[in-house]
């Protein structure tokens, strides 16, 4: 076999592997999309026709779509994302945490102090959001500990 033929075969094999990754990626996002759209459609039908089974079925379809999607993502024989995708997701996660930290740092103590002094009572939704952000940073601390142990 000539080296040109060998190179061509190598590229074809590599492209086939990349196509396989794309197929799995479509499967992941397709399953999630079916779950979300199915949930919304069944919820809409429940609002129009009633019958709690429609709502329950909507939740079941949603869970199924998300679980199948995540299952394929984590268990597929090929990596769904490449290193740049992972870097992008990591940067986006970092930015999200920065925004959440800003809201929590400013909003948390302000909410408690103003509420205690009676100057301003924040709506319960805001207090809920603050507790949600606080819980998020609790999870983040645990995740940081786990990640640090991986690289220690």
């Amino acid at each position: 076999m000539s080296s040109t033929q060998s190179t061509t075969d190598g590229i074809e094999d590599a492209e086939a592997a990349l196509d396989r990754r794309k197929r799995y990626k479509r499967l992941v996002y397709g399953a999630m999309a079916v779950g979300i759209v199915g949930y919304l459609v069944l919820l809409g039908a429940w609002n129009v026709y009633g019958g709690d089974m429609l709502a329950v079925a909507g939740v079941a379809v949603y869970w199924l779509g998300l679980v199948v999607g995540m299952g394929v993502y984590y268990r597929s024989p090929v990596a769904i994302d490449d290193e740049r995708d992972e870097r992008i997701a990591s940067e986006a996660a970092g930015l999200t945490l920065t925004v959440a930290a800003g809201v929590l740092i400013l909003g948390g103590p302000g909410m408690v102090t103003l509420s205690q002094t009676g100057v301003y009572e924040a709506p319960p939704e805001f207090a809920g959001a603050m507790w949600g952000y606080a819980a998020l940073f609790g999870v983040f601390a645990v995740a940081m500990g786990y990640a640090e142990r991986k690289f220690a």
């Binding site: 590229i11 590599a14 492209e15 592997a17 990349l18 490449d82 290193e83 740049r84 995708d85 870097r87």
Partner: protein, 67 residues
């Protein structure tokens, strides 16, 4: 980080998509590296150098400011 990826790729008559397939990343990743928008991992840099049968420093140059 400066790189000579387009030059090496064209010399080997490869498209971005073909090179991406050979080293197992997306075409967008190769494009981002060529435009100095993304610095590859050490593993990917080795794979690229291996693909062109050259040393990493032939492909990548940290530049005067070390970026």
């Amino acid at each position: 980080m400066n790189n000579r990826l387009p030059e090496f790729r064209e010399r080997h008559d490869l498209t971005q998509g073909e090179l991406a397939a050979v080293v197992g990343v997306s075409r967008q990743t190769i494009n981002a590296i060529e435009r100095d928008r993304y610095d590859p991992s050490l593993e990917l840099a080795f794979d690229l150098a291996d693909c062109f049968d050259c040393a990493i420093e032939d492909l990548f140059d940290p530049g005067a400011d070390g970026d």
